[in-house]
């Protein structure tokens, strides 16, 4: 690396007269270490990208090619495998997931920010207790609760068939409940940072508590809502263990309400695709694509949201 480069990277910080001796010292071992570290970074990047690219390419290959050498290159880029995957059930799973997510993410954000707002902005007896109750829930693995949860949801189904096992509404409620700890935790710290002067001014002008929340605090909390919203979309889109337990058809002939991730694994395991490997690869591509798009367009918020939640 040249001296010119170095001074250019920090303009005007310490004058523009690099002393040769000093240069020597800063660069000690840097060359070797740099090649070494760049090598590792590049290898890891290849390790990440290669399997993903391989799967996407696989959806354009023929069955014989996939079962042959791993290094074959697709002969032609046809989208046949995608339409086959879609008609084999992936389309239905995709739709199920979208329906559930529309309900669950909206409800999670609404209920989560309501609870977080009250906990962050109002003093009352038991405030701390309720807050820690919510936060504690994030600590334990979900499957600890699976056995009783299964029967809980089955009992809900006896109250109303729309809430029971293998129902959209039942799964929505469960998703909301299991997303609340994180949502409350994050939105709580976000509402704490908003200035209280606006809130007070609204109250003085005779605005009700509820109206203050919906018309003043929610718009102000938009950046926080977006971060947590993205996190919940990704988390619930990728949820696996809850739908596996709750979304199994309880009687033969009942509609299959499988979520996308669950349906994909079932198809892979039940050899539904054994004779049609390209369709399985295409199904995986269909499942990855929305997540990839959401992640790449919001990657700053996703990274900031995920890390700030664990750092605080």
């Amino acid at each position: 690396m040249t001296t010119l480069d170095k001074t250019a990277s920090v303009p005007g910080q310490r004058g523009t007269r690099p002393k040769p001796g000093k240069d020597q010292r800063f660069a000690d071992g840097g060359g070797v270490l740099n090649v070494f570290s760049h090598g590792f970074l590049a290898i890891w990047a290849v390790l990440i990208v290669l399997p993903l690219a391989w799967v996407v390419l696989g959806s354009f290959k023929t069955d014989a090619q996939i079962n042959g050498s791993a290094w074959s290159w697709p002969a032609a880029f046809h989208f046949d495998a995608f339409s086959r995957a879609w008609s084999k059930g992936i389309g239905g799973f995709f739709l199920n997931t979208v329906i559930v997510l529309l309900g669950s993410v909206t409800l999670t954000m609404l209920l989560g920010s309501m609870a977080a707002y009250v906990l962050a902005r109002y003093e009352f007896k038991g405030n701390r207790f309720i807050y820690y109750l919510f936060v504690a829930g994030a600590m334990f693995p979900v499957y600890l609760a699976l056995v009783p949860l299964f029967f809980m949801v089955r009992n809900l189904g006896e109250i109303s068939p729309y809430l029971g096992l293998n129902s959209y509404a039942g799964l929505i409620l469960v998703y909301v409940a299991y997303s609340l700890p994180f949502t409350v935790f994050f939105m709580y710290s976000f509402f704490r940072t908003l200035p209280s002067a606006v809130h007070e001014a609204a109250m003085l002008d005779g605005c009700s508590h509820t109206r203050t929340f919906f018309q003043i605090m929610i718009p102000m909390a938009k950046p926080g809502l977006i971060s947590v919203g993205i996190f919940n979309v990704l988390g619930q889109w990728n949820q696996y263990i809850l739908p596996v337990t709750l979304m199994q058809p309880t009687t033969a002939g009942e509609a299959d309400h499988s979520m996308l991730a669950q349906g994909l694994v079932n198809l892979a395991l039940q050899s539904g695709y054994k004779s049609d490997a390209p369709a399985l690869f295409a199904g995986m591509t269909i499942a990855m694509l929305p997540v990839l798009v959401v992640y790449l367009s919001f990657q700053r918020q996703v990274q900031a949201g995920l890390t700030s939640a664990t750092l605080k």
Binding site: D5, K6, T7, S9, R14, F26, G29, L33, N34, S37, F40, L41, W44, A45, I48, V49, P51, L52, W54, I66, G68, A70, W71, L111, M114, A115, V118, L133, F140, Y143, L144, L146, V147, P148, M152, A177, Y178, P181, E200, H209, F213, L234, N238, Y240, A261, Q262, L264, V265, A268, F281, M284, M288, V291, Y295, L296, V302, Q303, T307, T310, L311
Partner: protein, 310 residues
Amino acid sequence: MRHGKYPFIVGFLFLPIVLYVGLVLWPYAQTFGYSLTNWSGASQEMDFVGLDNYTRLLDDEVFAGALWHNLLLLILLPVVTILIALFFAFMLNVGGRGGTGGVQGVKGAGFYKVVFFFPQVLSIAILAVLWGAVYRTDGSGLANGVLIKLGLVSASDPVQWLSDPDLVLWCVLAVLVWSGVGFYLVLFSAAMQGIPKDIYEAALLDGAKRGQTFFKITLPLLWETVQTAWVYLAIVAMDAFALVASITPGAYFGGGPDHHSELISTYLMRSFLRNGEAGYACAMGVVIFFFTLILTVVSLWATKRDKIEY
């Protein structure tokens, strides 16, 4: 300000709390109760059997094996993931060749961060299907394909990966590390950016090498974040259900070949959903609960250091 405050608070908190307590906390609590019964899970009938389920667990060889595998993951997963993530985070944030006193990451740091993080947003189910394809036992799997191409493995005798009892747990560990490094890299990066640059600059002026700045400055100041990462990874290692259940061989939640990748979570689900031993499964759940709790407390206590203010 006072008028209607309490009705408002109650109105806003009511639904979230009902949902949360009803669907999260109450099932957790019930797990403890059921673990003391011989409930099959199929009917509502059950008898109180005291600690029988727990004494049975003591003699259960499959459970002992599963516990051992969990313990292995519990030690190896955090160590490997944190070491790789710390190394990468250091390279991406302060490892670059800075200017006169400048401290910066290597070139392309932003690109690497985006790419490395990507597995984290993929569903564990997608990871499972993907790695199932990568670990295929013939030459058409990606892993064998690469090794054959490099001439390390002959095409007639490919590696058996997930079907090899000695390899299967390592394969699982590799997938977990592969998907986890990006998240902890970003976590450590965020923490590193909070460290004032002048500390590094002062050290560099005093003639410190890059390796020294890492061990003498970065690591001590990041210690709390490393602790957090450790706890999170320990929870992942105790779980690891979806991955093992779907990529390892074995009917009903994997764990094969011959229980060589059995984890408590897969054994628990099989006991509950297939063997009709819900009470027994709940007892395993309780064991994991205390296991997780004790490990969290112990690791927090063992790694405790004085907080450094800067």
